[in-house]
């Protein structure tokens, strides 16, 4: 078993070594690079989640004011991680999203608001992402990502996985599927002339799935570190938010 894993890892390593230097593009969709109708479509799809997010935050804060600090932490975490453009094995850079933590703490909707704020900051001040594509980018990073993270964490709890593993998988898959969503969005807007949407999607994904993997692993690990601190110091709030069941 162990031997097989070793062989597999060596093969992967060699694959990476001889991986053609394709530059992946695991980042947000740039300003103006999504046709108007798609911009509007994603805006319309994202809006209800933003409303749900605002309501969900209000509810959480009402239950326990101490939760405000946690909310700030979730936002700050996403802020830091989005600012870190890390190098990846494909020879290009991308950044993690940091939304998994907030999704685990506050459920699937609250991060839509915080993620949108992060994206807005980057679109206005850094020309990274864009205002026209804000709807689409919010949908991938702040709706799909957190939703995946939340579902995975709860599933992990249900299956009685060790908590660190649930947290890791939630953050890891949330990050990865954010960018899978981005590639679907682009494939829908720019289908390939041969093979249409699916071919374009494979093109986008085949490249950057690889780019995002190490970053998603990093994000998972960083989320574990923060979460461990919270379990040690903020148990009361975590129980209030039903992240941890009482008296466990």
């Amino acid at each position: 078993m162990r031997k097989n894993t070793g062989i597999l890892l060596s093969i992967l390593f060699l694959l990476f070594l001889f991986f053609p230097q394709q530059n992946a593009w695991a980042m947000h969709i740039m300003e103006g690079f999504l046709p108007l109708k798609w911009c509007l479509f994603w805006y319309a799809l994202t809006l209800p989640f933003l409303v749900a997010g605002i309501l969900s935050i209000q509810k959480a804060v009402k239950v326990d004011p101490g939760v405000k600090m946690l909310l700030g932490l979730a936002g700050a975490f996403a802020f830091v991680l989005s600012a870190l453009k890390l190098p990846s094995v494909t020879g290009s850079c991308s950044h993690p999203t940091g939304v998994g933590l907030g999704a685990i703490l506050f459920g699937p909707w609250a991060m839509s608001v915080l993620g949108c704020i992060v994206l807005l900051f980057q679109a206005v001040l850094l020309a990274h992402g864009g205002l026209t594509t804000l709807g689409a980018n919010t949908f991938s990073m702040a709706v799909v990502g957190p939703l995946v993270a939340y579902v995975i964490y709860r599933l992990g709890e249900r299956l009685a996985l060790p908590r660190w593993l649930s947290v890791f998988l939630a953050a890891f898959l949330g990050d990865l599927l954010t960018y899978v969503t981005t590639s679907i969005q682009l494939a829908l807007a720019f289908p390939a002339s041969h093979g249409g949407v699916v071919a374009a999607m494979i093109k986008f994904m085949g490249i950057f799935a690889v780019t995002q993997v190490p970053l998603a692993i990093s994000e998972g690990i960083l989320t574990i570190i923060v979460f461990n601190f919270l379990v040690a110091h903020n148990r009361h709030e975590l129980e209030q938010l039903r992240v941890l069941s009482r008296g466990v």
Partner: protein, 110 residues
């Protein structure tokens, strides 16, 4: 394993993950992915013209890195504040392996 040791180990793994690609692909550009995105779209639909420009672009790479640093600093600053605050609340004398104990008079942090 103690929490501190565990965290150091985890941070070390993150560092390795970040440095490894640099050592592996010595000749790679490590550019941002945005330009490649444009290329890819150009391949798929050569006649597509972006219909909107960024409202404001950082005038230079230096300014851009300033803003990225600012973003990271703001976030990291708050995280540091948060950790310090709750460590202070709890007091370091409480054993880390008894996290369930709550203080009688908790400061809710508001």
């Amino acid at each position: 394993m103690r929490t501190g040791v565990k965290n150091l180990l985890l941070i070390f793994i993150v560092l390795v993950l970040a440095v490894f690609p640099l050592l592996m692909n010595k000749n790679a550009e490590f550019g941002g992915a945005d330009e490649q995105a444009e290329k890819m779209i150009g391949e798929l639909q050569p006649d597509y013209q972006p219909w909107f420009e960024s409202v404001w672009e950082p005038p230079s790479g230096e300014i851009e890195s300033l803003l990225f640093a600012l973003q990271a600093a703001l976030g990291a600053g708050f995280i540091g504040y948060f950790i310090g605050f709750y460590r202070g609340c709890r007091g370091n004398h409480v054993k880390r392996n008894q996290p369930g104990e709550l203080l009688g008079e908790r400061d809710t942090g508001v």
